[in-house]
Assembly symmetry: C2
Homo-oligomer: 392 residues x 2
């Protein structure tokens, strides 16, 4: 089968001169319909995998290679009539520019990388989806690059990646995006990138950035708990490496203070973004005589762990202890009772990040060269049964 196809491809290549004649015949001799198009010709030859090249388009549109290139790249100096003709040819041949050739030739490349070291598959898949969607819209290809944030040679690793795959830029997800040593080094090396981070205000720095205002969202969650009458609320942290841990905790503390509740440091525990962490910490908490009446998990997995621990201790949620999480992962939807949480559309965030990156890399290609190079997202509170009773 393969051999056959390759044979056909060769056949086409070799008879290249003949093709325009066929084309001419149909164009001159008779009206459009019923004519033999180049596309028909290729298809009839069984040439499934042959790609129409810019050359084919040029021949069909009867212009030069360069003019086709101009149309493809939306350069302004093309007469409208010519543009139309070329676009028609592109459509007829189902022409798509060859990424390898584009990337090879130009000072510019149409490939970007997505860098992450995130243990949460839901997050990763969401980010991938958003970036990929934006890539397709803008004609980019995507190279995913899961990696180890703690690997010493991470900066060199990323540089090699950019060089080997000729990447135009990187989208960097937390927690790597929040490591200033890394981002500074990349900046020094002149690598374009956009960061997705957790922050409560636009970050300083030249590189574009999408920041998720976890602080504001955590503030809302905390106020929600307070509104339900809770004053002894525990906070279960994730890894400190994730800036979101810090932001969420700050938002939590700010809400307490604003409502005149003293922050009890013994109720603010460190930990990790995992079920087990939530489980262990909560076991300890439940064994205290002055146990809290509510628990705020830094994410849903922690909260799910907390829920399991509370149950294990024979207590009920939300009557004995209210629980809130963060992220709106399936863990929060599928636990019993479902968990109050805060939602962020990961894919939308990632899409926006990609937009900012392109705007940074090619200021001319987009109209809004003067748009800010950052963008804010504020996760929204989702009230669910895990915090429902205890009305104020």
């Amino acid at each position: 089968m393969t051999t056959l196809t390759i044979f056909f491809v060769r056949a086409i290549r070799e008879s290249e001169q003949d093709v325009p004649d066929i084309r001419k015949d149909s164009a001159d001799g008779q009206p459009d319909s019923g004519g033999v198009s180049l596309q028909d010709y290729l298809v009839r030859k069984g040439c499934f995998l042959s790609k129409a090249t810019i050359k084919d388009v040029a021949r069909v549109a009867e212009v030069s290679l360069k003019t086709v290139s101009r149309v493809i790249n939306n350069e302004p100096t093309v007469k409208e009539a010519t543009r139309k003709k070329v676009q028609a040819a592109i459509k007829e041949l189902n022409y798509q520019p060859d990424m390898s050739a584009r990337n090879l030739r130009g000072s510019m490349s149409y490939a970007i990388g997505l860098v992450y070291d995130n243990p949460n598959p839901y997050y990763v898949v969401g980010v991938q989806e958003g970036v990929l969607k934006a890539c397709r819209e803008m004609g980019y290809s995507l190279q995913i690059h899961p990696c180890d944030a703690h690997h010493d040679g991470i900066v060199e690793e990323l540089c090699d990646l950019v060089r080997q795959s000729r990447l135009a830029g990187l989208v960097i997800a937390p927690p790597i995006s929040e490591n200033e040593t890394i981002t500074k080094a990349l900046e020094d090396r002149g690598i374009h990138f956009v960061r997705i981070i957790s922050a409560s205000s636009p970050p300083a720095g030249a590189s574009p950035c999408v920041y998720v205002n976890d602080r504001a969202a955590a503030h809302s969650v905390a106020e929600h708990l307070i509104a339900h009458g809770h004053t002894r609320i525990a906070f279960l942290s994730g890894e400190e490496e994730h800036h979101s841990t810090f932001e969420r905790r700050e938002g939590f503390k700010a809400a307490l203070l604003e409502h005149g509740i003293a922050v009890d440091d013994s109720l603010i525990l460190d930990g990790a973004y995992s079920f087990d962490s939530g489980l262990q910490r909560t076991m300890t908490l439940m064994d205290r005589s002055d146990r809290p009446t509510a628990i705020f998990g830094c994410n849903d997995e922690i909260a799910a762990g907390a829920l399991a621990a509370v149950r294990t201790r024979g207590l009920t949620v939300p009557d004995d202890v209210a629980i809130a999480g963060f992220e709106n992962s399936p863990f929060s939807q599928q636990s019993r009772p479902p968990l109050t949480t805060a939602a962020q559309s990961t894919s939308e965030i990632a899409r926006q990040a990609m937009m900012l990156l392109v705007n940074e890399m090619r200021p001319q290609s987009t109209d809004n060269a003067e748009a800010p190079n950052y963008s804010e997202f504020v996760p929204e509170l989702l009230e669910r049964p895990s915090t429902s009773t205890r009305a104020t």
Copy 2:
């Protein structure tokens, strides 16, 4: 910063002739140490993003371009001494072949695509990890392609993908890999691909395949339940579109029959691979007067839903009802009690798939051209508390 870098890159390019002289000086005038290598030269110039090309390597190794190419591609007709010299130069310059140029030039390409439409992020991330690892080992780059299996133009979409990105082949995950209309069409078009599917024996067909023997694994799970004294066991199916649903159900039924237990069709329910599906079906089951004593969920999400339903009805697991899942996802580890399940190393499966694909695409490059073009994985039973009591 960027402008600066580009300037330096230009500077290097323009002074190309000078570089070998510097090199020569250090090579001739004095012993190796203390000499000025080309690499040093580039780095001192601030030329972070400049790539060493095959040309640079050739100059340093004092051989022709083609010879370097031969070394890179492990062609046999290179004298050992020459090979050593070239490899040293490659190392010195930290040379890495340019993917774009390779893919552009050759009849062969070093890019493959990963095609999936799987709602389970854990599965997706696992497959990505495995394929990516194999890609790195073998010098391939990976293009991920999440897509909609029910989209009418899916075959054309995949062809366009292969053409536009010059992919050498595809790794196709379930359920798309189990759709014969699609795989047949791809075969007809001469596209190389490997499938990851659920099956109980090597599938017919020319294309390579990794099959996961869900039937055998489900058989084990069912026997485990039977061994714990259960005879009324319900089976909650996933989507029929996923062949794994069929296989797991067949394994389940076979185990019952082998142990002289009649298959009660009213205990075999259809459904979907979701928490909600498990929840709803189990609600119905629990309301029956002749409710089952055990439930086998076609995956862990279903089983987690079943667990929630059983609880909602005021029954306990495993004393009133035992529950088993499949897949060893976090849902099974983090539920209370943790769920008995069956595990498959998704990333190992994906890695193996990639290996088979390469073997198919380049029979010459690997030694084992005659190795079978399929491979079996049998998930292993993991006993956990959700099925623990009721000893036989």
